[in-house]
């Protein structure tokens, strides 16, 4: 199945782009998907302060992902 990954804030730099479409084997959760990526990127995506959205709703990392879903990785907001 195909999943769209969106990298916000500093994670865009870590991923080398704001978005990536990848093929994953079902069943997969968000954590599985992160673990299938480059180790450095995986570490950045699963840092404790990163939150996850599945199709625009905040979810936990063990939430399972379906074909066509959009998964967003959200680092802390910048504040100021």
């Amino acid at each position: 199945m195909e999943v769209t990954l969106v990298f916000l804030g500093r994670l865009e730099d870590a991923a080398g782009g704001a978005q990536r479409i990848i093929a994953v084997e079902p069943p997969s959760c968000i954590a599985n998907i992160a673990q299938s990526l480059e180790p450095d990127l995986c570490a950045a995506l699963l840092k404790e302060d990163v939150r996850f959205a599945l199709n625009g709703a905040l979810v936990q990392r063990h939430c399972s992902v379906s074909d066509g879903d959009e998964v967003a990785f959200l680092p802390p907001v910048s504040g100021g």
Binding site: V6, L8, G9, R10, D13, A53, N55, G56, A57, L58, E70, A72, L74, P75, P76, V77, S78, G79, G80
Partner: protein, 162 residues
Amino acid sequence: MPGEIALVVGAFDPAARLAGFAAEHRDAGAVASFLGQVRCGDDVGCGDDVDDGQALELLHYEPLTLPSMIALGEEAQKRWKLSGLLILHRIGIMCAGEPIVLVACAARHRRPALTAVDFLMDHLKSRVWFWKREKTATGWQWIEPREQDRTDLARWAPAAHS
């Protein structure tokens, strides 16, 4: 919705927006507002700083950012019985001196109007999904959260991260 809550692409005219808001709420008695402008400076805060001649970029995540602003507006409305509320937040690339954010609250009395503006700013800064990067001599750099943002939030009773 008790008022207008919007993301704005490109510069906007805060004085004209505020004038319209005050006129619309002429009966309210009290109109408090906050305007954040991009600051040309050397520390991060509101307005946000950019180095001289440089730029600031504000990014959002479409499915979450505006909904989280609307939820925040509804919470303020519920807490302080506002007669009107305006939240305009810019996204995209902006330069020193340009407006980033305008918040205005109208109420019968000054205390709720002023407190609601204060609340909205603290939460817009640390709870709404915006990421900022600054263009410096060495390229774009992400702005990280500050300890001050947590302190600011701690002034209010818990409000869910939306």
